[in-house]
């Protein structure tokens, strides 16, 4: 079990709604961004003079630009429906981690400065000035939200705390209070092309290594091309796929699927990152700048289609925002949606019977599936609502014999975030990550006890990294989390592959 200098939550058989413990997570806040990274993103390097006024001005600017912010700040009636829905509240018991508690940190300042009631009777309506203490709370608690949107499912007005968190982070960035993890990563994308700062030559090396591995394994020459002009498909995938486990097994799977489909494809060293951390910090301008790299790569490589690898928030930006941010995509093949998810691509091939899948190759595992929050509640796959739940499950069922879902209350659009999304996947936030994972790990634990589940599949780089790190705190193994396309990769019998099975059949015949 991993060592923790905080209390790791105890897993229960039945979920419990904890009593509130005010202030217990007030100490949790991430490292602040260095001035140089702030500058790269167009933000002031450190807390500006006159920051209160500038913050209120920025809030006014955002209120005029985002209907969501305006409507959500006005509409909450404090009904309490969301109060027991956030995994961070359930895991920490801090009432400022209840969605409404978190929103109120911004709402009380909004009321003070932008509503008549708050100007005239601040005490009555819970309005407050933006003090240093309030700013401290903002920095702390708006970095304890993974923007997973679970609260918005249960709110009678659809109030989405993610929108509030994004606005708060945007305001803080504009007065020079940025978060190190997100802003440093965005700066890396601008300089190098991906979150991990992996330069082009290293990428080529890595992919050649993968080609050798797959050849050794199967005897088939599966290619993992980079910057190949004129390829049909541009694959944009999270950079963790290039070397982290179990991500890379997923990437191997995408390549095998493309190989079997007989399509030409390529990665791009310019757009070697699917994730778009511009969303986490609520910055439309930065999100757009990151997204435009994909457009530039698509034009330069003269591709006809764009396919995204397994990544949750990336798929939200890709599916929901890419057309807005970097479209129109009229130069691509109009027969395919832009962009497509790799699961949509693989699922179509399975439907057409073009993949030879041997399920028994995954018989060493009993699977469950974790719906990644942003795929589940902020995007779609296929042409029907809910395809984002059904298509990955259909792929798992086509590639594995043993599959069980977790408790209904914790999957599909009620899924719990892994605890590491929204810009929280950093070691300086380990406590909130571990505690926030509790509801998901609890459901996983139950299905392990009841159904003998051994592994959990996911389609998000953050989920995979988060669980790899966090499961050991709960006494589980880090390798219990797998990529969906890792399952595909295992089960897929490549054309011309030398298989042990054939030898066995031959043996039996003899």
């Amino acid at each position: 079990m991993a060592k923790a200098d905080f209390q790791v939550p105890v897993l229960k058989q039945y979920p419990e709604i904890p009593e509130i413990e005010p202030g217990v997570m007030a100490h949790s806040s991430p490292f602040k961004s260095k001035p140089q990274f702030q500058a790269d993103l167009g933000f002031p390097g450190e807390l500006v003079d006159d920051w209160q006024t500038k913050a209120i001005d920025k809030m006014g600017d955002l209120l005029g630009r985002y209907r969501s912010l305006r409507v959500y700040l006005d509409s909450c009636v404090k009904c309490g429906s969301c109060t027991d829905k956030c995994h961070y509240y359930l895991g920490t018991h801090d009432p400022k981690n209840m969605p409404v508690g978190r929103q109120d940190l911004l709402r009380k300042v909004y009321r003070r400065h932008f509503t008549i009631a708050g100007r005239l009777f601040p005490k009555l309506v819970g309005a407050e000035d933006l003090t240093e203490e309030v700013l401290g709370d903002w920095y702390s608690y708006f970095h304890q939200c993974s923007q997973c949107r679970r609260c918005s499912v249960f709110c009678p007005y659809g109030i989405d705390t993610a929108e509030i968190s994004m606005a708060a982070r945007e305001i803080m960035d504009h007065i020079g209070v940025g978060q190190k993890y997100c802003n440093e990563i965005i700066a890396k994308v601008y300089k190098i092309g991906n979150n991990l700062g992996l330069p082009g030559p290293a990428l080529v090396d890595t992919l050649e290594g993968l080609e050798e591995d797959v050849f050794d394994d199967t005897g088939v020459e599966v290619k993992y091309p980079v910057d190949k002009e004129g390829a049909d498909i541009l694959l944009v995938t999270p950079s963790a796929d290039f070397f982290a486990e179990p991500h890379v097994d997923g990437l191997i799977g995408y390549g095998k699927v493309f190989h079997e489909a007989g399509v030409s494809w390529t990665l791009s060293s310019h757009a070697s990152e699917a994730a778009n951390f511009g969303m986490f910090i609520g910055s439309y301008e930065n999100m757009r700048r990151v997204a435009l790299r994909i457009r530039e790569a698509a034009i330069k490589l003269k591709v006809k289609r764009i396919v995204f690898g397994e990544c949750g928030h990336a798929w939200r930006v890709a599916y929901s925002f890419l057309n807005t941010l970097a479209g129109p995509w009229d130069f691509l093949d109009p027969r395919y949606p832009v962009p497509q998810h790799i699961c949509e691509f693989t699922y179509a091939l399975i439907q057409e019977g073009k993949l030879n899948l041997d399920k028994s190759r995954n018989d060493d595992m009993v699977l469950t599936y974790h719906d990644s929050c942003n795929v589940a509640r902020a995007s779609r796959m296929g042409d029907r609502p809910g395809g984002q739940f059904d298509i990955p499950r259909a792929i798992i069922r086509a590639t594995c014999n043993n599959f069980y879902d977790m408790d209904e209350e914790t999957i599909r659009d009620r899924t719990f975030c892994c605890g590491g999304g929204g810009g929280l996947l950093t070691d300086d936030l380990m406590e909130i990550r571990v505690k926030g994972a509790q509801p998901r790990v609890e459901a996983l634990n139950n299905v392990m006890q009841e159904k003998g589940v051994t592994h959990m599949a996911a389609i998000c780089a953050i989920c995979k990294s988060q669980f790899t790190k966090v499961l050991p705190y709960y006494g589980m193994d880090l390798d219990q989390i797998v990529s969906v396309h890792q399952l595909v990769s295992n089960a897929l019998v490549l054309t011309g592959e030398e298989t042990d099975d054939e030898d066995e059949v031959a043996d039996e015949a003899a």
Binding site: I17, S68, G80, G101, F121, L124, I159, R288, S379
Partner: protein, 243 residues
């Protein structure tokens, strides 16, 4: 009692103006503020008809609240549906002749009044009994509940205990339509009831009661899930492309 009638006439003109102007102002503000990104909470409908159905389920049945909290849903829905029936019942004081449907609804309006008070009591109890809800409750949340429950109770008392001269009340409001101040019966309970209603009208556009128009403008509920098919771009975002 013509002085009191004058005061109440002025109060209701003022309250009606604040309600209409305040709400119109807010609705225009919501409508004019762009929603730059597609953010429906998915799975979401892929057609406008689907969105209309989703919104109808939210408005009529409080679908999301039902999924979120059964107790809040029961009390909340009782209150709102009760209030709806009560409002229909009250139309007979404001319309002449009274439409048949409004005549038929009269007895249900009374049940509505009872449901409304019970629902409000349940919602208020939650603010004391559930620690999470107690934590998020501000003084104004209590006051709005007190206001609504007082309106309901004073109304029911007039129906069952201390009757007022309802025909003269109707004449008073009919008079306001044409700028004449008729004499309002000087029953304390009636005056209290009307005062509280006027107060409710005045605070409506400046309080959390804005959730009523807000729901219709909520992007997570009113957007069609079609971002790949149709490019969605706000005017201020479009300007970024020209730089």
């Amino acid at each position: 009692m013509s002085f009191l009638s004058d005061v109440y006439a002025g109060l209701f003109y003022f309250a009606a103006f604040v309600l209409v102007a305040g709400l119109a102002n807010k609705i225009i503000q919501y409508a004019r503020t762009p929603a730059p990104l597609k953010i429906p909470t998915t799975p979401a409908p892929t057609t406008k008809l689907g969105v209309t159905l989703r919104m109808t389920r939210e408005v009529v049945f409080f679908e999301s609240l039902f999924r979120g909290s059964k107790w809040t849903w029961i009390f909340g829905w009782m209150f709102h549906f009760g209030l709806f029936l009560v409002t229909l019942r009250h139309l007979r004081y404001f319309l002449d002749p009274v439409p048949l449907l409004i005549e038929m609804i009269q007895p249900f309006g009374i049940y509505g009044g009872m449901a409304m008070v019970v629902g409000l009591a349940g919602l208020w109890a939650r603010r004391f009994l559930v620690d999470r809800v107690r934590y998020i409750t501000a003084l104004s949340d209590h006051l709005i509940l007190a206001l609504l429950i007082s309106i309901g109770v004073s109304g029911l008392l007039m129906r069952f205990v201390v009757h007022t001269d309802i025909m003269r009340v109707k004449q008073f409001f009919q008079g306001l339509y044409v700028g004449q101040v008729q004499i309002l019966p000087a029953d304390p309970l009636l005056l209290l009831h009307l005062l509280l209603v006027a107060l409710l009208m005045i605070i409506f556009p400046y309080s959390k009661l804005l959730h009523a128009p807000g729901l219709f403008f909520s992007p997570s509920r009113n957007q069609v899930d079609n971002p790949r098919e149709q490019r969605h771009i706000a005017p201020w975002a479009k300007r970024l492309e020209q730089d």
